[in-house]
Amino acid sequence: MTELLAVRDLAVAYANGAVHAVDGANLSVRRGGMLGLVGESGCGKTTLARALMGVLPGGARITRGEARLDGTDLVALSPAARRARLWRDLAFVPQTAMSALDPVYRLRDQMREVLCDRGGLSRTAADARAVELFEAVGLHPSRLADYPHQFSGGMRQRAAIALALALKPKLVIADEPVTALDVIVQRQVLDTFRSLSTDLGLSAIIVTHDISVVAYLCDQVAVMYAGRVVEHGPANAVLEQPSHPYTMGLMNAFPDLESDEAVLAPIEGSPPPLSDPPPGCRFAPRCPFAEAVCTREVPPAVAVTPDHWAACHRTPEAAALRPRARDPLTWRGVAEATA
């Protein structure tokens, strides 16, 4: 398996560089792989996803780093060159397809827009392709004649996926693709992704705050905290043997996928303000295992296995810390003590 996307030290700044929503993020996606990008809300994962798509909101811009897709640095491209690659090379599945689909056009027209305007297909070819796509995501082609509001939530999401797949992009970025859906529908949509992955070899970044989605869908996972990726590796490895205290904490906040015995214990405190992040490790103020060095020096990425790394000064001790982290009492009072 080769690397499809490599993000190195990417930083996105708001408000004239005073605030970094993403501050030196690193991650990689393998061809045909599915990377889960997880983290609490506000950790910068959506900004990172949008930065990759090149549609940052007004006032935000990439200040450093690179994002190589198949070897081409997207950051360095001119806006026009970059726009030329959009949707052909990398496409996007939004959180709520309701607001992401233009309400005044039928799905067929929205398909045509992408397929004809961007894909250069003829109208007939586009319509045929649209039928294929709808079938691929499990929608009846007759629904192409409908307006977005006529779809149910799950169907809309699948329609959005179909749209994203239209030009056979190398990479799909899905931002919380199932968050807005109820549990049963979530499963259907996830299954759609799954089959696309196995049948079509889809490469994707699944942005989510839900570990279970990652567990269900992804082969790789990147954990983000306060604008940085703190742990990155194969899904099994990261979920079963988290090496960053933050990941360990996150695992506590979700029910165990196999058993229901674990106590749910959220990490106390809240992420640091991005306008004034703490020096050193950004998780240190909430970390029960923090040491003096953690508040001083930015932890480097330390490899656990060749394809699994964590940005923590105490990575080597991870195996020892893991059992302690399972105990909810470990986390209690940490945030207040350091605040």
Binding site: A91, A100, L101, D102, E113, H149, Q150
Partner: protein, 324 residues
């Protein structure tokens, strides 16, 4: 469709209410109420005939029923001044008013929509900083004053366009349609329509701007960017298209309001329309004519309000399919 029926009932209610208000206004005004319907030069017999026709010799509630009955039969009485059925006089000038309004609104909305879209697109820049106060100024300027300036410049000064009326003197046409479709009519229409449009364009411009700004924050616009569509396509096909919805409604509403609001411009340009007829009727104390003109203006307004609601439903697929 129950909504349609409900809305129709509402319209009927409003029409009835407006007719009632008109009745009360013209009957309960200070002084002798029958003066409103009896020309002072009528003979005694004539006066009695009119009293009987409008039931002015009966108690007010009964008068009211007769009045409503007359309205339903399209019986609006004779003009004091010209002794002709007022309905005919009013209907004769109605096309002129409708055409003036329509032309002005089309110009205003074409221009205003574009301007509003541009203001939203180029928001925060110098263009917006200049155009917003400018647009507000056009809305703050009294129409008659703008009309006078237009007259001074284009009719008297440069002599490009005629200064009043709807047709050149003595022009003869085979039919009303030929008259309206003539170049001559268009030339006469230009100045009043332009004056009105200068005033009217402010609303679509400001509405389009805020509507666009709102739409531009929508996720589907961002998505369109992600799709690599050119900015112009995004603005036109997605942002503007969606932002247009409230404008269509505003157009219909504006049409209804403008038919009444034309009074001033029609008077400045001697445009033979409803507004001028109303103003003249009032000035001449020709109450039957004034009442009929007022009722017709109100009818157009109410119909347009109704149409605006329907259009809103038709054009926004979300509403059309009963989401709300």
């Amino acid at each position: 469709m129950p909504y349609l029926i409900r809305r129709l009932l509402q319209m009927a209610f409003v029409l009835w209410a407006v007719a009632t208000i008109v009745f009360l206004m013209f009957r309960l005004m200070p002084g002798d109420p029958s003066a409103a319907f009896i020309d002072p030069t009528f003979t005694v017999e004539q006066q009695q005939a009119v009293r009987a026709q409008f039931g002015l010799d009966r108690p007010l509630p009964q008068q009211y029923l007769i009045y409503l009955g007359n309205l339903l039969h399209g019986e609006f009485g004779l003009s004091f001044r010209q002794r002709q059925p007022v309905l005919g006089m009013v209907l004769e000038v109605l096309p002129n008013t409708l055409l003036l309004t329509l032309t002005a609104l089309l110009i205003a909305y074409a221009f205003g929509t574009l301007l509003g879209a541009l203001m939203a697109w180029k928001r925060g820049g110098r263009f917006e900083a200049i155009s917003v106060p400018l647009v507000l100024t056009t809305r703050a300027a009294p129409e008659f004053w703008v009309g006078m300036v237009m007259l001074a410049i284009f009719a008297f000064g440069l002599g490009w366009l005629p200064s009043g009326g709807a047709n050149v003197a003595g022009a003869q046409y085979a039919s009303e349609w030929d008259r309206i479709l003539s170049l001559d009519y268009l030339r006469h229409l230009a100045l009043p329509a332009l004056t009105l449009a200068i005033y009217l364009q402010g609303l679509p411009a400001l509405l389009m701007r805020s509507s666009m700004l709102e739409v531009m924050r929508e996720e589907f616009v961002t998505m369109a960017r992600m799709k690599g569509l050119p900015e112009r396509t995004i603005m036109l096909r997605h942002a503007a298209r969606n932002a247009l919805l409230p404008l269509v409604t505003a157009f219909a509403l504006g049409f209804g309001q403008s038919v009444g609001g034309n009074v001033v411009v029609e008077n400045v340009f001697s445009w033979p329309g409803l507004g001028r007829l109303l103003a003249e009727a009032i000035a001449n104390s020709d109450y039957p004519l004034a009442q009929c003109a007022f009722l017709l203006i109100a009818l157009v307004l109410v119909l347009m309000n109704f149409l605006a609601d329907l259009l809103y439903g038709l054009l926004d697929p979300r509403v059309a399919h009963g989401r709300g």
